[in-house]
């Protein structure tokens, strides 16, 4: 059995890739996919710590995180569809009506 630090390194790398995607892309769908990558990195951390401490708390946390991610994608896709209907694009820099 390999140590927990391997999982922590993998999770950090995955989180950094997701953060890079959020900071560089302008497509709103790419935002959602990058957020999914970051949520998965956090979930890997939680399950790894659950095994490390020998409790089930991390796994229960991971279940809540999975439910949150599914709900977040549903709400985000609704917002993206409204954005596409109103502005004709899903570039997140296009809507400026809430800027003051």
């Amino acid at each position: 059995m390999i140590g927990i630090e391997h999982y922590l390194g993998l999770s950090a790398a995955l989180f950094c890739i997701g953060l890079f995607g959020i900071l560089t892309r302008r497509n709103a769908l790419m935002f959602l996919m990058s957020v999914e990558l970051m949520v998965n990195a956090a979930a890997i951390n939680l399950v790894a710590f659950a095994l490390y401490y020998g409790t089930l708390t991390g796994q229960v946390f991971t279940l809540f995180v999975l439910g949150l991610a599914a709900a977040e994608v549903a709400v985000g896709l609704g917002i993206i569809l409204v954005l596409h209907r109103n502005y004709g694009t899903i570039d997140v820099t296009a809507p400026t009506t809430m800027r003051w």
Partner: protein, 94 residues
């Protein structure tokens, strides 16, 4: 030893497909890469003795979230390639 080899192989798959999600231009290819990445994350859950979480990961992400994302890609990207194709065809005809 075997587990370490499996871990590093799937780590390469996960990080490579995550880079594909971030770097690919086409949202279709990016969503496919996201599916590969989420499926390979489920392997780590099995290796971490969390089989139930792995099953829920495959069901929720690949069965639900990825379908929603491809649905949104279909709805939002449908007109743009058609426009470009029309432009190419009209540009090529004369």
């Amino acid at each position: 030893m075997m587990e370490a080899v499996t871990f590093y192989l799937f780590a390469a798959v996960t990080l490579g497909s995550a880079l594909g999600v971030v770097l690919l231009r086409d949202p279709w290819h990016a969503s496919l890469m996201l599916g590969v990445s989420l499926l390979s994350v489920a392997v780590y859950y099995v290796m971490l003795a969390a089989e139930f979480i792995a099953v829920i990961q495959v069901l929720v992400y690949v069965g639900g979230v990825l379908i929603l994302i491809t649905f949104a890609v279909m709805l939002t990207q449908a007109d743009e390639p058609v426009d470009s194709a029309v432009g190419e065809s009209t540009g090529g005809e004369p």
